[in-house]
Structure formats: C-alpha cells, structure tokens
C-alpha cells in the first residue's frame, strides 16, 4: 500500500470517527426522557419548578444545544470526557476502572470464537466433501440464532445452580480471597456465553471459504499428487481460506463488544458494557458519550487494523498489478 493510499484510508476512518462523535452527542439527547430523575433523586416528583431549573443549570443542561455540543467537542479534543451525572466523578476515570474487565472478557472471547469458529468451519468443510455437514450447519445456525442473554441464563441454571461448579455473578467473589483462580472461575461462564453466541459467523465463513478453496485447481492438483487428506485440509486449504476469516475476526470485535453489554448485564460483570447499560437507564449523558466513544474508537481501530494488515497476509493485494488475469 502506498503512503498516499494509506493516508487516504486513515483519513476515511477519521471522518467516520468525527461522525460518530457527533452521533454520540445527538443520540442520548434524542432519547425520550432525560437525566432529571437521576439528578433529582428519589423525591424528584416533589421538586418545585425552581429547584428543577436550578438542578438542570448545575449540569449545564439549560444551555442551548449548540453550546453544549461545542463544550463537548472541546472536551473530547482535550481528552476531557466530562463528569458523570450519577456521582460527579470524571467519566474517563469511571471508564478506565471498567476497561480491564471488558478487555479480559472480550479478548478471551475473541480468541475462543476464532479458534472454535475456524475449527468447526474447517471440520464442517471437510465433512462437506462427504456431504454430511447438514447437521453441523443447522446446529451452528441454531446456536447463532439464540440470544446471548438466554444462553447466559441457561449456563447459569446448568453450571451455577444445578451443578454448582462455577460462580454465576461478578468478576470476583465478594469478600473472598480473590486471586487469579477466582478471576478465571468468574470468567468461564461469560466467556463461554459470548463464544457460543459469536463463533457461528467465523465457522460459516471458514467453511464456505474452505469449500471454495477445496474446489480450486491447485487443490485438485495437490490431491492428484496424493497429498494426505489431513495435510491437504490443514495446510493447503485452511491457509488459503484464512484470508476472509482474518477480516471477519477483526470485524467480530464490534459484535463482541455489543454482546458484552448483554453478557455483562446478565452476569453482573463490572465492564464497560454494564456501565453503558446503567448509564442509558440513568440518562447519564456524559458517561453514555464516553462509553460510546470508547466503543466506536475500538471498532474503528479494529477495522483499520484489518485493512492495514490484510496486505501482509495476501501478496495479491500487496502487488495488485501482478494478479490481473
């Protein structure tokens, strides 16, 4: 990729980011309801008109929207995401406290969805050769169609309540000794949920990509040469078929982050997703903006990464002229 193309691509992403920043400001305010219930506390219904106005003024919510937007933009530009309506703590501080948990959850799930997805996809493609992968496909599609919260509830009912093997909530045992083992034990069910809910895309793309490679001429030749089946599938086909999977895996980030909102809520896991969920319910605009921004940046960065690393894997993109037929 030339420097010019690279800067063009990065420019495109910056534009998307700018749009996202604008939407992050607009969407919370376009929602019905407002932060008054959060600001006014439990007796909000008994507030007088003056107290109401005073309350909104304290948080600059009485200012015209363009002015609020200007302040927000200036803040984002200088790295200041504002303070939460809920506890008046800086938004960045609240986000940073949650980020490690979400990174742990989404990171583990990303690795697992990829490994499981590629394995199931390759295996199904291998069976397709023998025309027996219908059951697998139906099963994969069924799991894919199941909503993550429901998978989570089933895992809690099965492994938490019935079998009693695994903790069902939180990131560590309250009042427990803590430690790595405790953290990992609490990670199992949420990660399994996200993986089950997310591996199907990877599996299906791997399968179809594998099938098209398996039907190609080089593979036909390899087979004719007598390359053993396992080697044929694993080395020749899977390597070539991995290209679209690579793109998908990085795009999957966005999906997993969306899934994390649900899974963190079901498992009461203290990540960014749950923070976002609570912020939406409270109409905590600054936290909503901050969390959305963080998620947007992550997804855009993942896409950019996919764009930039693709040529490293595929020589045809690196040297586009040579592959013209």
């Amino acid at each position: 990729m030339t420097t010019r193309r690279l800067s063009l691509r990065v420019g495109q992403y910056l534009l998307v980011l700018l749009l996202a920043v604008g939407l992050n400001f607009a969407l919370p305010r376009a929602m019905p309801g407002g932060p008054l219930a959060t600001l006014g506390g439990e007796d909000v219904g008994l507030l007088g008109a003056e107290e109401r106005e005073q309350l909104l003024a304290e948080y600059d919510l009485d200012r015209p929207l363009p002015e609020q937007f200007g302040r927000y933009l200036a803040g984002v530009a200088t790295g200041d995401l504002g303070t939460s309506f809920v506890d008046r703590r800086p938004v960045s501080e609240r986000l940073l406290a949650r980020l490690p948990w979400t990174l742990l959850l989404v990171g583990s799930s990303l690795v697992l969805t990829t490994v499981v997805g590629v394995a199931v996809g390759a295996w199904a493609a291998g069976r397709r050769e023998r025309r027996r992968d219908t059951g697998t496909i139906i099963g994969v599609l069924a799991i894919d169609a199941a909503p993550p919260f429901w998978i989570g509830m089933l895992l809690i009912a099965g492994f938490g309540v019935q079998l009693g093997w695994l903790p069902t909530f939180g990131a560590v045992t309250p009042g427990g000794p803590g430690g790595l083992g405790d953290v990992l034990a609490h990670l199992v069910l949420p990660v399994t949920t996200l993986t089950l809910a997310g591996f199907a895309q990877t599996a299906l793309v791997t399968r179809s990509s594998m099938l098209s490679v398996l039907g190609s001429e080089p593979l036909f030749v390899a087979r004719a040469k007598g390359v053993p089946r396992r080697r044929l599938l694993g080395r020749h086909a899977l390597r070539t078929a991995a290209l679209p999977v690579h793109t998908l895996v990085l795009m999957e980030m966005g999906w997993l982050i969306g899934g994390a909102v649900v899974v963190e809520t079901v498992f009461s896991y203290p990540g960014v997703g749950r923070l976002l969920f609570e912020a939406v319910l409270a109409r905590d605009f600054p936290v909503m903006q901050g969390a959305f921004l963080l998620l947007t940046v992550t997804v855009i960065a993942a896409n950019l990464l996919a764009d930039l690393t693709y040529p490293l894997l595929d020589p045809r993109v690196r040297h586009p002229v040579e592959v013209t037929q």
């Binding site: 929602m31 099963g139 069924a142 799991i143």
Partner: protein, 569 residues
C-alpha cells in the same frame, strides 16, 4: 464413523437440551422501577414467617452468629452517604446499617429511641426535647454530641437535595442545651415529626461534613456514621463490604461481615441464591419463584404486605376518557381477583378503589372494588357508546380504543396489562398494549416529573411506592387539580369533589381531622376514577436459613435493616 455421526448432531442435541431447560424463570422486580418517591415509613409490622428449623445442632450454632453473609441488591447505591445513596429501597435501608437516626422505627413501625435515649413534646406540640444517648462514638472514634444534631438539621436545610429537606421545613430553631440535650422548635404541630425526620434522617458528623460543600460528590471516605457497621470497601456497581462496629452502643452486631453484591439482573441474583453464593436477596422475589423457594430444604422466604401500589392510570384529559362514566365503566370491567391470582399467584392484597392499602392507618376499609361487567355495559350504553362492527364501542364517532403503556422490563405488569386487555374487550373497549423502556414511559405519562407540563398517553400501568400510602398529603397530591398541591396528579384529574376533599386534608389541624378528610378523599377518588387500583404486591425476600435466621421483617421495608443484626429495640 458411527461416533462421528453422533458427534455431528451434538450441536443439535445441545439446542434441544437448551430448549427443554428454557422454562427457568426470567423476570423483574415488580415493585421497583422508576415509580418515583420510594422508601420510608410504614405501619403495622409482622415478624417474618421463617421456619426456624436449623437441621443440626452445629448448623444452628453457626447460623446464630455467622462470620459473613453475602446479600444481593438490585443496583449500585453510590458511596452510601445520605446525599449519595440512590433509592428509597434498598438504599435508605443500607444507610441505616452505617448511619443512625435519632429515633428508629421498630418492626411495627413505631418510633423507638436510638441516638436519642428519650424524647418529649410540649403541650403546644411545637417544642421537641431530645436527650441523647451517652458514650456514642463515630466510626473514627470521635464522640457524638448535640452539636452534630444541630449541624445535621442545618445541613439538610442548606443542601436541599435530600429526602429530609421538606421534613425539616417547619423547624424554626434547634438549640443545643448541653452535650447531650437538644430542643427543636417547630412553627406548627407536626404529628409526623417523630417518624420523619427523627426516625428517618441519619445524623451527620460535624467534624467531617462541615467541610463538604458538594454533598452529591461525597465519597465512601465520608461514610462515617455511628451505625452498627462500618463501610470498609466499595467497588462501584460491584460490591460493598460492611464490617461490624464492635463499639456499637447496643452491642456488637450478630454478623461480623456483610458483603453486599450489586446485581444488574434480578434473575441472576435468584440463581445465585439457589446456588448458595448468596445468603439473602434484598431484591424482591418474583411470585412464581415463591413456591419453589418454600419447597426447597435450604431456602426460605420472608414475607409481609407491601404498600407499593399497582394501578391502571387513566389520562382524564383524553377525549372519551374525560367522561367519568367511561372511566367508571373501565373500573367495573376489571376483576382484581383474577389479576391477583394470575399475576401475583395470590401473593398480594385486593385493592381499595380509593388507592389506600387496607392495612394503612389512613384507609377507608368500607371501600371495595366492584367487578360488574354487566353494569359497565349498561353505563356505556346509557351514554350512547354503541359497539361498532368490530365489537369496539364508539362515543360521538370516537372509538373506545386506547394505547396502554407499560414498562418493558416489568413482566408482571405486562402480564397484568394482557389480562386487562381481555377484561376490557368484554365490554367493548379495545386496549393496545405498548411495552416501552421505563424512562420513555415516564416521559409520556409524567414529562419532566412535573404535572403542569401536561401528558401524552391514554392508559398506563403505573404504581406509587410505599411512602405515598402513608402520607395523607401525598394522597391529596394524587388528585388535586392545582399542580402546586396535586404534584402527583399525573392523570390531569379536575374534579370538584376530589379537590374539596384534598383541600380538607391540607387544612386539617390535627390527626383526627386529617384522618376523616383522608377517608373522604378516598371515596371521592374511587368515584372520579383517575386510576383503577389493581393490587398491592406482597414484599417477599428469599434467604438461606442455614446461613442466618435472625431476619426481622419490618413491614413495608423488608428484612435488610439494623433490626436484623442488633437489638436496638
């Protein structure tokens, strides 16, 4: 080959198992939601209905004084100070573990001495003399004195975003007589003063809080009370750790450590209670789980009547619904006993059409709901609302077809809405159920939480929390047409009889007059029908008796309070 084939069906098998197991419950907190004012004082209490059978001797000893309990709550409660907790329940109740009030309500909600060992009122009813308990210290070791009391009264007056600011509005003067004596001067007699603020308002330590100018930003470092527990750890949205205050004036609490776990999803909390990870859930148990919990050997429920109401709120300004006869017909067409059976599985109380729970001292118990679809039909026929071809009646060309708003995260209310739809269809009224996110519903029913801003809905499932049930002034607020008095009149009712009765409540000079006026008001509300009272759900909490069995049920409040851990009354 054989093995392979069966393995290829493994995902299918998993799905089948999953489907079979899907019957496990998922639902929500029935009395919660953004119902507005939550919390506080109640009447008539009863001990919890626990079967105090610890299976073996060893377990019984352990259960008597466990080292640590893990308790679920349904949302974060901030840094647990009087200005940063979030909800009336369970936030205020948790406050009571760390902080003390001057008086405390016992299990039957009668005021008893706490930080004030003794109190008296003069004959005029305006001068309250409080004698403080000796030797009480704050968690940091500083002594608690009369200066702290005077400071607290002053603080809640200056920083108005507190639940007690209104309650101390009538205080003219607070005088420190000596270290252990205070007199409080009121501008008029206030029979409620002992309950609120005295048994409701936590005392603040002057030596810490005098330097706090932004109380909404107070942190857990500022959560220094005199209560039976010290707040030692707080992780937002995750957990609190409360350690027993060994120096508590009433003796050390029976449980050394309380781990409070914050849940985002109630069904996860109930699962964790069953799995043994939790010892008690302060999140209300759903009716359909009660039987299961009662049947299980290792689980029990504590249960009492709840003063939170569930209503069908009517917009009395809407065309057609502005006719009293139509609203009365809606009331006649509704069968609350069916709702009680189907939605609450019997775990609730039948309604007083005048809003007030029959167990509330304010209730006019002679008022009962009348279910009579025949009379409803007659009423609608009489005003000329004839059924059209589709069976839906129309009045002056306007079909009796209404949208019913309901919180999407509240399955019991959605179920109730479905039953209402069927019942009203019987009399030719069409109901279209519209489940929406809570704040979105609030925004249409009660825009800006200010009734003078109008409203945009037909019908809505609604509810008010317990305090409204016990305060005649707030019952007046439910129906008065002047927004200054009728701050809770979300249906926009404008009815002369209701206004007159509400005015009488406001003007009442003593408790007796107020009581009579409140009963008058209930009859007027039942007649004007700005809403149909549907039921009052019981308060039900699940716990593990082998872990701890000393729970005390305070009516309208539940079992999460200092009454369950120390002998203060």
């Amino acid at each position: 080959m054989r093995a392979r084939r069966s393995r290829s069906n493994l995902p299918l098998l998993l799905v089948a198992i999953a489907l079979a197991a899907a019957c496990s419950s998922v639902a929500d907190d029935p009395a919660g939601g953004a119902d507005a004012p939550e919390g506080s004082d109640t009447e008539v209490g009863q001990r919890n209905a626990e079967e105090a059978d610890a299976q073996e001797g060893g377990a019984a000893t352990d259960a008597a004084s466990p080292v640590a309990l893990t308790i679920a709550i349904g949302g974060d409660e901030g840094s647990l100070t009087p200005y940063t907790y979030r909800t009336g329940y369970p936030g205020w109740n948790l406050l009571g573990l760390v902080w003390d009030t001057l008086l405390v309500l016992d299990a039957s909600n009668e005021p008893q001495p706490l930080l004030a060992a003794d109190w008296s009122v003069d004959d005029a009813g305006t001068t309250w003399t409080l004698t403080l308990r000796e030797g009480v210290t704050w968690h940091d070791g500083e002594p608690f004195t009369a200066d702290d009391v005077a400071f607290t009264f002053d603080y809640v007056t200056r920083f108005t975003q507190s639940r007690w600011t209104n309650a101390v509005a009538g205080v003219v003067d607070v005088t420190v007589v000596d270290d252990l004596a205070v007199t409080v001067e009121l501008d008029a007699p206030d029979p409620e003063f002992a309950v609120r603020p005295l048994a409701d308002m936590p005392m603040l330590p002057e030596h810490i809080w005098s330097s706090i100018d932004e109380p909404e930003a107070a942190t857990s470092d500022h959560a220094v009370g005199t209560g039976p527990y010290r707040l030692t750890e707080y992780e937002q949205d995750q957990r609190y750790r409360l350690d027993a205050n060994a120096d508590y004036f009433a003796g050390p609490p029976r449980v050394e450590v309380l781990n409070i776990a914050v849940f985002a999803d109630p069904s996860t909390a109930f699962a964790a209670l069953r799995s043994g990870e939790l010892d008690m859930s302060a999140i209300q148990l759903e009716p359909q789980l009660v039987e299961q919990f009662e049947a299980a050997d290792d689980l029990a429920v504590a249960r009492g009547s709840g003063f939170a109401s569930t209503l069908l709120q009517i917009n009395t300004e809407r065309l057609v619904l502005d006719r009293t006869e139509v609203r009365q017909a809606i009331g006649l067409a509704i069968d609350p006993s069916e709702l009680l059976e189907v939605v609450l599985l019997g775990t609730g109380t039948a309604p007083n059409p005048g809003f007030v729970h029959p167990d509330s001292p304010l209730a006019d118990t002679s008022l009962t709901h009348t279910f009579d679809p025949g009379a409803a039909n007659d009423l609608l026929d009489d005003i000329g609302a004839a059924p059209g071809v589709d069976g839906v009646r129309a009045l002056d060309g306007e079909p009796l077809s209404f949208e019913l708003l309901v919180y999407a995260d509240n399955p019991p209310r959605i179920r109730a809405a479905e039953l209402l739809q069927e019942l009203l269809a019987e009399v030719g009224i069409e109901v279209l159920i519209s489940p929406q996110e809570a704040a979105t519903v609030d925004d249409q029913v009660w825009p800006g939480f200010d009734v003078s801003q109008g409203r945009d809905f037909d019908l809505s499932m609604w509810g008010w929390s317990a305090p409204v049930m016990l305060d005649a002034g707030r019952i007046a607020a439910l129906g008065h047409s002047d927004p200054a008095i009728g701050s809770l009149n979300i249906g926009g009712l404008d009815d002369a009889a209701v206004d007159a009765a509400a005015d009488a409540v406001q003007a009442a000079e003593d408790a007796e007059q107020r009581q009579a006026a409140a009963q008058e008001l209930q009859a007027a509300l039942a007649d004007a029908r700005p809403f149909v009272t549907l039921y009052y759900a019981d308060e039900i909490f699940g716990y593990r008796p082998a872990s701890y069995d000393g729970w005390v049920f305070q009516d309208g409040q539940g079992i999460l309070s200092k009454l369950s851990f120390v002998d203060v009354v």
